[in-house]
Amino acid sequence: MTENPFLERATRFVSALRHCQVLGITVHDASGEGMTLVLPYGPHIVGDPLTGVIHGGALTSLMDTACGMATLCVLPEFEVCPTLDLRIDYMHPAAPHKPVYGFAQCYRVTTDVIFTRGFAYQDDPQQPIAHVVGTFMRMGKLLKGTQRLGNTVKGEKA
């Protein structure tokens, strides 16, 4: 059995997201404190061929997923939480040929809405390449298909 149920749940969740598989996003760490995902460098996500810097879209996918998955760290049961809004401030470009880590946490949970924030970094979390805030809607457990995805996340057969 695992020592970290957060990590196991998160790993199963991210493996169900097709675009994250395309980008190669995996779970680096997960706990009650928050979620850390990692985006490997690859030539297919380059946005500026002159510098080899990855496109902001790949970073946004990483951070949208990290913020959305941070809800797994605070909700007692799985709920689908679509993004209401997301804001990204780019501190500096990501260095090419290095993975990007995306950390996110929930700082307020209400009955309808979850407020998240996070940052993306490479070598040093103290030198983030981007800061992010995102707001997510709680859809509850009753939404069509939620139970199926919830079971996948729990590791049960759907």
């Binding site: 994250c20 297919h44 496109h55 902001g56 790949a58 951070m63 997923t65 809004d85 298909g145």
Partner: protein, 150 residues
């Protein structure tokens, strides 16, 4: 390499060959962005692609893909209309998701609200069925390299 990229970029812009322009950007190829000119405007299209799906239940496009599509549209819009000499650099990006992005073609249009010497403010709207029912709206600030193209 640097020189070749700039030459290809200039050629693509001069000829209005947006396919060649998009071919230069690997991320644009990955998600599959297309661009056509409609009079004085640019219309961006993101064809339905299974690899862009996030939520498998609905299924819905990944929010990050919608954001990447809109960010890329804004940068290209600036490149084509604002005479920026190179790819504009993103400063910040703020996005409101209004409807789930369904597994179908998505379109985007941009509007430059303000272009200063160093920074440009661009609004982006993305829709699937009609422009009156956007799936997302966004605004972005880009840093523009000083000096315009000849």
């Amino acid at each position: 390499m640097t020189h070749r990229f700039k030459t290809r970029l200039e050629q693509a812009l001069e000829r209005g060959n947006y396919e060649a322009l998009l071919d230069l950007i690997p991320y644009a190829k990955l998600i599959g962005v297309e661009c056509t000119r409609l009079g004085d405007e640019l219309l961006f299209r993101l064809p339905a692609n299974k690899d862009n799906i996030g939520n498998p239940i609905l299924p819905a496009l990944h929010g990050g893909v919608i954001a990447g599509f809109m960010e890329l549209s804004a940068a290209l819009h600036l490149l084509v209309f604002a005479g920026a000499p190179g790819l504009p650099k993103i400063i910040d990006f703020s996005l409101d998701y209004l409807r789930a992005g369904q597994f179908r073609d998505t379109y985007a249009k941009c509007q430059v609200w303000r272009q200063g010497r160093r920074v440009a403010n661009v609004a982006i709207t993305a829709w699937q069925s009609t422009p009156a029912e956007p799936i997302a709206t966004a605004r972005a600030h880009f840093k523009i390299e000083e000096g315009t193209r000849p």
